[in-house]
């Protein structure tokens, strides 16, 4: 009975660990082109251009630069 309990605990721990690892990989954003956006107060950031039109990119750069200084 004791060994069955230990076995189940190990199995659950393994499942839990696998799920977390998968989540970390899935959350990692893959971008082929990061562009640096420089704001006056040195609080710069990188914005991905993948799949964006120029209009979207310019508006996003403006939006994300607000409130950084």
């Amino acid at each position: 009975m004791k060994s069955l309990f230990l076995g189940l605990t190990f199995l659950l721990a393994s499942f839990s660990s696998t799920t977390n690892e998968e989540k970390t990989i899935a959350d990692e954003f893959v971008c082929s082109n990061w562009v640096k956006v420089i704001v006056e107060c040195d609080n710069d950031f990188w914005l991905c251009t993948d799949g964006q039109t120029m209009e979207e990119f310019l508006e996003d750069a403006t939006y994300f630069s607000q409130g950084r200084c």
Binding site: V37, L58, F64, S65, Q66, G67
Partner: protein, 278 residues
Amino acid sequence: MKQTLKILFIYFFTSNVIGQVQIKGNVSFPPIEYKSEKLEQTKQNIFYNYTYVSNPKKTEKTKYSLTVLQIGQNWSKFVDFNTLKKDSIEEKFSHYKNLGVVELNKLLAIRAKIGFKKNTFKELKDNSLTFQGKVHSTKYEYEEKGPSLNWQLKKESKSILNYNAKKATINYGGRKWIAWYTEEIPINLGPYVFGNLPGLILELNDDKKNFHFIAIGMNNEQKEIYKRVEKKIVKTSKKDFFKAERNFHEKPELFVRGTIKGGTNFKKIPYNPIEIID
């Protein structure tokens, strides 16, 4: 000429100086498509200094830009001076093969200086209005019948640009507006949608001083009154445009598609529309 130089001098010292944003890296976008419809030539141009509050919770923080009322025979157009500059740059860039960092930085810089963001066209024969504006990256156009502006004419007067200006008040768009107009220039126009007074509006503000326009000069230079013709412009109603604008400020995550390195944190943008529309 002297007058134009004076206006430009004031413009350079009062233009909306927002923290400069620049980009660095490899980037290339196809050129902008630029098309415009010429409406007519201006007969007169009235320049207004525009002071406004973008965050209604921080009314002490004001921003500035230069706006212009272009008046023709059949049309008038009220626009930010930097929108005219932006259009001129975009027209130039429309002939380029690709737009890179240099061009994008020029566009970012000029866009940041635009304070008054709705281009307002008035057809003078019936006062009907057409507006062009943008919410994030989507361009919109909506029309409106000329609003009935029933002003209350007051006795007070003062001098603006050496013209005798009389006071008038009105409730419009959820705000109380105070205008100073001169009968010495018998043109019933003014900033944005305002007009229908027995003379040109030289100064206009709401009673909370969130929006203030003051004439700083005028000239008779002939300039083209044009309207941008956009393939992807969304024709909408005034109510829906203001709704979209409010949504963008309150829920920017619904509009912003880009991703920043290290995770994206969306923050609300303060919203202070010139008209309060529910």
